[in-house]
């Protein structure tokens, strides 16, 4: 049985997803303000790292990194509704790419496991 990451298509799948995902996030009025003034290249690098992790791929993300990175956003009001909005964009990105629903469910479970760290709880 190949891993989730392999079933999704590995790094090329991450590359295909990152632009679609980030474009959705930036266009989403519920959350786009959190991305004002951020460097796009750097942010896309971070999104790739995040997607690689959510796709079950190799990563060196730690809960602590997640907390530290998002702490300034939590101070600006980042809450569950924003987390849900990002998750929704991730799910629709995968649907748009034609990923099978059972794989999407697995990705969403991994992404969802970061909620407490992202929201600093």
């Amino acid at each position: 049985m190949s891993s989730l990451y392999e079933q999704l298509g590995g790094q090329p799948a991450v590359d295909a997803a990152v632009d679609i995902f980030y474009r959705k996030v930036l266009s989403d009025d519920r959350i786009s303000a959190f991305f004002d003034g951020v460097d796009m290249d750097r942010q896309i690098g971070k999104q790739k790292a995040f997607l690689t992790m959510a796709f079950g791929g190799p990563h060196n993300y730690s809960g602590r990194d997640m907390r530290t990175a998002h702490a300034p956003l939590v101070a600006r009001g980042l809450n569950d509704s924003h987390f849900d909005a990002v998750a929704e964009n991730l799910s629709s990105t995968l649907q748009e790419l034609g990923v099978a629903q059972d794989l999407i469910d697995q990705v969403m479970a991994i992404a969802g496991s970061t909620r407490q760290d992202v929201l600093g709880r």
């Binding site: 632009d19 980030y22 474009r23 930036l26 796009m40 290249d41 896309i44």
Partner: protein
């Protein structure tokens, strides 16, 4: 605290202090400009001691392997023996200085040995007293001189000198090139969108000429924005270039006062979006003021341009000179 040895003298870096700040604080004149790792003016070489990897970000592997690093990004963790990176500079002289507008000067610089570069990259121009600033290259390597567009900045030391005091044949040195905002061959039919304000036109005009020279066949749309018509420059040259190359469109745009001159009027991103609502499949180049660059690359991306197809060069402003006490 790590010790820094430079020119036979030993200095100490305070906690949290960069090598650049430590040396400047102790009176060592190290050329510097952006202080953010972009311009590479403060390049130094460590003969002994290991510099942190973060101080070599963006350097060519050939340089980092020789111990070159950026003093502004280097927070030393061990003793370093330092020397100037002078060997990488080439001697040059000012070949021509031409005011294109009251605030934009075209400087042509003749290097005494050929410089290998790509139009759109940037070099660091250094005056004999050490003052250094980075400028983008509007010329092609085949041209006899480097072409730079100098914007006069308030209290700008280098721009003030070039505008008011410098003469042809004055000696300078050139270091570089650096930067990855340039045309690459391989997709001759891809549509290209080039946009920027002010002297962001320098790299854009260079990239445009380079693409044409390399036989680019796809559409090339060059947008240059200014506040008012008098802020535009090189209009005749670019209109001529567009007449000579049917795939090139040159669209100058201003924020105000453009109607009388028959110019596109409005914010640059709006003018572009009006003509190009969808940009998937395009390649984009954005240069100049950092705020404009950031806005345009985001708008291009949201209009469908792939992130890896967007090349940007945000001009960082050197900090204002410190007042002498």
């Amino acid at each position: 605290m790590p010790q820094l040895t430079y020119d036979g003298v030993t200095y100490r870096a305070a906690p949290g202090e960069s090598v650049l700040d430590a040396l400047l604080r102790q009176g060592v004149p190290i050329a510097n400009s952006c202080r953010a790792g972009a311009c590479q003016s403060c390049l130094l070489r460590a003969n002994s001691g290991q510099v942190p990897a973060a101080a070599q970000v963006g350097l060519k592997s050939t340089l980092s392997e020789q111990g070159y690093f950026l003093a502004c990004l280097c927070h030393p963790t061990e003793d370093l023996q330092l020397e100037e990176a002078g060997g990488l500079e080439v001697a040059a002289s000012l070949a021509a200085l031409e005011r294109l507008t009251p605030t934009v000067l075209r400087a042509r610089v003749r290097t005494h040995q050929p410089l290998h570069y790509r139009a759109g990259q940037y070099i660091t121009l250094r005056r004999p007293d050490g003052l250094a600033r980075s400028y983008s290259l509007a010329s092609l390597p085949d041209d006899h001189t480097l072409e730079l567009h100098i914007r006069r900045t308030p209290q700008g030391q280098m721009s003030g000198w070039l505008f008011d005091e410098a003469h042809e044949n004055d000696a300078v040195t050139v270091r570089g090139p650096a930067g990855d905002c340039f045309y690459t061959a391989g997709h001759p039919d891809q549509p290209l969108l080039l946009a920027g304000t002010g002297t962001g036109l320098a790299p854009l005009a260079g990239i445009c000429k380079d693409a044409l020279r390399q036989g680019h066949r796809g559409p090339i749309h060059l947008f240059h924005g200014a506040l008012r018509p008098e802020g535009l420059y090189l209009q005749d040259e670019l209109h001529t270039l567009a007449r000579e190359n049917s795939n090139l469109q040159y669209i100058p745009a201003v924020m105000e006062g453009g109607e009388a001159a028959g110019l596109e009027t409005g914010k640059l991103d709006t003018v572009i979006a009006h003509r190009h609502p969808k940009l998937s499949g395009w390649r984009g180049f954005v240069c100049g003021d950092p705020t404009v660059v950031q806005l345009l690359r985001k708008k291009f991306f949201l209009a469908g341009m792939a992130s890896r197809e967007i090349f940007a060069d945000a001009f960082l402003q050197a900090p204002a000179p410190q007042t002498t006490r």
